[in-house]
Symmetry: C2
């Protein structure tokens, strides 16, 4: 039986929620986090997760949290793959701005056939990342591990390239774009200041930008 959009959304949220601040491997995602990621009441998430557990898609530990099984992992990876291929397709082929693709992809990811995704993927040259630099799982669900350095951890006064922006908020994305901090841009972190909770960056044409620590943590570099 093919999974409903709802089931796909739960699996995706667990997938993304578990890999987010992945300190330990195999960590359990607390139900509260899952519920708020999905915008549903806590009890709703509990109920749904229990039925997912019965289908063998997740492992559920009452009062502890939830994690994907191998089967759930595979399914979730396919949803994420579809989402990210679609995002890149919308930007490259359909002329969307990178801040406009998320909602559209959110809808399309549940109805697009494997065939169409593969056509897009082929047309795009089997890309490894989407417009935000998020890695695209391959057709088997495998993601290439990318080393994670953020603006908070990379060496100072050293040229680095922005590889990924971890946030889908439209206004944040527009800010990033207007200051030439999109993936692919070359920059240098000049200074980090704990007192002012900010990071100063030298970017394109030696322009300076100062951004908050929280925002800086969302920019990954290499």
């Amino acid at each position: 039986m093919l999974p409903s959009s709802t089931v796909e959304n739960y699996l995706k949220a667990i997938y993304l929620g578990s890999s987010a601040a992945q300190t330990q491997p195999q960590r359990l995602l607390p139900m509260g986090q899952l519920a708020s990621a999905l915008g549903v009441a806590p009890g709703t998430a509990t109920t749904m997760v229990k039925t997912l557990a019965e289908s063998g898609l997740v492992k559920y530990e009452p009062y502890a949290g939830v994690a994907l099984t191998a089967a759930g992992q595979k399914l979730a990876a396919m949803v994420v793959r579809r989402h990210r291929v679609i995002e890149l397709f919308l930007v490259r082929v359909m002329g969307y701005g990178w801040d406009e693709v998320h909602d559209e992809a959110e809808q399309l990811e549940h109805v697009v056939s494997n065939r169409l995704i593969d056509r897009m993927d082929e047309m795009l040259g089997r890309p490894e990342v989407d417009p935000h630099g998020d890695p695209i799982p391959d057709a088997r669900g495998v993601v290439k591990p990318q080393q994670a350095q953020s603006l908070l951890t990379c060496p100072l006064n050293t040229r680095v390239t922005i590889t990924r922006v971890i946030d889908q908020d439209k206004s944040f994305l527009r800010f990033i774009e207007s200051h030439h901090l999109k993936p692919g841009e070359s920059i240098e972190v000049e200074e980090r200041d704990a007192a002012s909770d900010s990071v100063r960056v030298r970017g394109k044409d030696d322009q300076r930008v100062t951004i908050g620590t929280r925002a800086a943590s969302k920019l990954l570099v290499q």
Copy 2:
């Protein structure tokens, strides 16, 4: 409140069902026909149509049938527009065969945004018909009336051009394609024979094909 996929499907079925063998204008579609077009039980259609009537999308006459109101007409036309734009996009841009597009479009039509449809429409040059020759309603929901002559009514031994194929069945479409009877092809009807219930056609390279009356009625020409 935006209509669910289910509501969209009901409206579309009424739209297509009413225009099908449109003898009288404003004719009521019988509930049985609607139910079987949607593949639901008759009682289900009755229930749903009553709620559509309460929303002002259809006019419902118990025991007689159902017709779209102006509002329902508009909504239905938009669904059909999305469907047909998507079909053409899949063929022209994504390299689909014309017999492969229906199911994919059936899913996509309910989730694609107006913006994406307009991008596709623009990319395709504001087309007036889809790959089967079905007319595409414009952004206001208006369809250009096309004069309807079928292989059963057009003059004999006169060059005509196939403009439309009214059937979504895969094997029928493949048959049509393999005998060079797709929209755009130039042909001539040589003979109609009531006894054998068939029509003989001279097509590309003077090749002859004989097809049944029922099939012939689905090929429209100009």
